[in-house]
Symmetry: C2
Subunit: 98 residues, 2 copies
DNA sequence: TCGACAGGCAAGCAGGAACTTGCGTATCGT
DNA sequence: ACGATACGCAAGTTCCTGCTTGCCTGTCGA
């Protein structure tokens, strides 16, 4: 639980999640490249790799190996736990507004 | 935005939010006492005060002064921004399941 | 087979976060 | 008025985090 928030606390990691939401299943180098081009974040390969480790440990990213490539997939299920923790859905959610 | 996640990354601060959700409008000393009794967190007064400052800066807690007392109120609206950022409500939310 | 590519491991460093310590200020009760 | 209460401010300490640096492993193409 705390790992999820700690992972989301970093802007580079949030940019990684945004990038994966837009295009799922990217490799490390793809993410490095698109992070600079589309998000203006200029981090080294090792830095991004360590960020992805943190995201994976938090359960926000799942990986799949294939040969020498490692694809990263977004998993938003830990975020739903946040919604339920502070009951964000039962007060005046965007679904059933009477 | 980043301030919200950074504030939520700390377990003591999450306990403070839980405590405020259960009983809104508490003072600093009330929160210190109940943090030990109900959450098992033994932090000093200054530590809790600094945590509340972080939460207030993140917009998760709003304060109201009255004489020598300062009441703290929970505000979950920054958390709703999280829900909308990763579209947690439009995929298969707990409201309108077809 | 050999070089290039994709990624991993680990030590080290600079900056920040959390907590403590000590003192200061404003408010309330008596 | 005076002490007690509720809280604020600021420096110092310790620990964690993010990033770099350097080297290593595994995989693919020519």
């Amino acid at each position: 639980m705390g790992d999820v928030f700690r992972a989301l606390a970093d802007p580079t990691r949030r940019a990684l999640l945004d990038e994966l939401q837009e295009r799922d299943g990217q490799t490390l180098f793809e993410l490095c490249t698109r992070l600079i081009q589309r998000h203006g974040v200029g981090s080294s390969r090792q830095a991004v790799s360590q960020h992805l480790e943190v995201l994976e440990q938090a359960g926000l990213v799942r990986t799949r190996r294939e040969g020498r490539y490692k694809f990263h997939h977004l998993d938003t299920s830990p975020l739903r736990a946040i919604v339920e923790r502070w009951r964000l859905d039962t007060e005046e959610g965007p679904c059933g507004s009477p």
